[in-house]
Symmetry: C2
Subunit: 396 residues, 2 copies
Amino acid sequence: MDQILAQRMSGVPRSFIREILKVSLDPTIISFAGGLPNAAYFPVGELEAAAAKVFARQGATALQYGRTEGDEELRQWIARRYRDKKGLEVDVDHILITNGSQQGLDLLGKVLLDSGDGVLIEEPGYLGAIQSLSLFQPRFLPVALNDDGLHIPSLCKTLAGASAKLLYAVPSFQNPSGVSYSDDNRRRVAELAREHRFVVVEDDPYGELRFAGHEAKSFAHYLPESTVLLGSFSKVVAPGFRLGWLVAPSWLHDRLIVAKQAADLHTSSFTQRVMATFLADNDLDSHIARIIEAYGRQCRAMEDALQRHFPKEITFTKPEGGMFLWGRLPEGMDAMELFNKAVGEKVVFVPGNPFYTASGATSTMRFSFSCVDGPIIDEGVQRLARALGKFNAAFS
Amino acid sequence: MDQILAQRMSGVPRSFIREILKVSLDPTIISFAGGLPNAAYFPVGELEAAAAKVFARQGATALQYGRTEGDEELRQWIARRYRDKKGLEVDVDHILITNGSQQGLDLLGKVLLDSGDGVLIEEPGYLGAIQSLSLFQPRFLPVALNDDGLHIPSLCKTLAGASAKLLYAVPSFQNPSGVSYSDDNRRRVAELAREHRFVVVEDDPYGELRFAGHEAKSFAHYLPESTVLLGSFSKVVAPGFRLGWLVAPSWLHDRLIVAKQAADLHTSSFTQRVMATFLADNDLDSHIARIIEAYGRQCRAMEDALQRHFPKEITFTKPEGGMFLWGRLPEGMDAMELFNKAVGEKVVFVPGNPFYTASGATSTMRFSFSCVDGPIIDEGVQRLARALGKFNAAFS
């Protein structure tokens, strides 16, 4: 009966990463492919204590249906965090708790996108956003990423030829590239957003995981009435609770609540209560400091290993935080072919192709350093170097 | 900037029930309006023990990202339950865990519905389904509900004039009416589904809450390749975990997984693990028996009170399970006006209007008996009778 499927399903890419994860299940394989946070730094004991407290104090109340907007205490914590960390005054009533920030994308697509609407997207861009927004059949308008943010001439050229409803951006430690937008770049993008009247969706799951450099200003500083902030507890606490949030200006927020209610009524009241209790009873900053120390060390180990074992023709970004770095093979070399050779050497990464809405850019690749420690990183990069050698004798 | 909103948002009804819930916060008001399960029967201690066990045994693993399909053990439990309780052989690989069955509706809308597609819906129908499917801009084709299921001549007539992609049905203890489809009615609807090639979405959140009569066969017995089953733990365990599921034939299932991944990657791995542990360590049937005993008692109390205090011109359905019964005022009386009078007497119910996709049927109303015990029910019905009296002296 599959002829009755909706048209919107025809354009949705399958997740190649899902396929890679199956390969990664082999314990002899070293994986730089996953996008997972390191489970060694999940605050298991603290969350256990918080859950026990919620059962003891709230009991059945925490297990009943809740408000679509989300837990009041949790939203207040998020508002305080924006004020303390980013100097942003966020109205608690403009915060909506979602099932990870991924759901924020789905809700925004529903509320904002008609078929054919222009969506500016980073090239390379976050796979989950491409997949999620594809369902609303937009016209993707890819804009190249530089080491300091969006390539402004490309953005101007794109906007001269097409109108856009929104820009989806991960301006800090972007997935997949690890790149961060500079203050200057943000300011110029914001000017164009104001001029061309598009919404900036600032997805910031990694922003707190900074191990070098300084933080640039949120787009919400420049565009308070047309920025949507997406946030997540997945990378700083744990992803298994599926807790994220969005902050939207009031003209948009009411509609997002209707869309959230239609989607699943509300996010788990229980996990929200546990998270709020965990955050009230623990110092998140000192917890995050441990993650940052580990990821920073692992990132340096990966950069060192790549410098030691890889030919200098292969270049990499220099992330100041987050979980990823991004490599570029010399022109004409295909990262997918390298991937196939790498599997034979028992090491995997993600070839760049799925991160592009327009295909053809196949010489790039994403490496994750979040879940591998120094010696494993070195061994994995050596295996990759061997794969490179087999792939192209010129580099051996 | 709200001129940039997507067209699909214009047709989505606001939830009137949400508004009523605000009124219900006044503790002096007796509410027959809510659709909440009774929190007194949530297995708080058992879930607490299950959560502690998950932390102790699985630790960080239960807090990591998980598979889009959902927890393997939980899906196996669901498959066994279908076999044991309904005699249905359900492939574990066709089960997808969702955030309550509400999310199943959103995913089905995404995967099946193009703008203008026909959707057969019960009249009156479940508000959450109307709201959720509205986002995909279908053409709703309402079919009247009788005391034994869909009104077959109406269904035939509708199908003679329009094509339908799916029927959304709650065939056991329907929300809002409390009506159940007979075996004969299901067979005839299934014949029409086969002939006219539409999918039957059988939503069954209340089916296990039977306090009278016998269970009729699932549509999946008649239409194994074109029935989608929606299920939920919200009414038999607790809603705050937001755990439901759908079972779809293979031609549909793969696409639903893509849609689920795009929507929020997966449902909380932690709450799924806790639920699977709770179900493994406890006898759900003896837990459900307590809920059934209470709801059955409360339903009878409501029926008795209505018979005692209400004029016989106002008729009610006779549910054999679930949480709701449905009243019909004499022709010309407006349930919304009665509602306004009832608020003055400090008692609320849900006027029927929001349960219809075509407006105008305003003489009906939903009463919930799940969260009120005998004496409160009697007092509430007496207050309602006073409101009726003020509303129309002929009935005083």
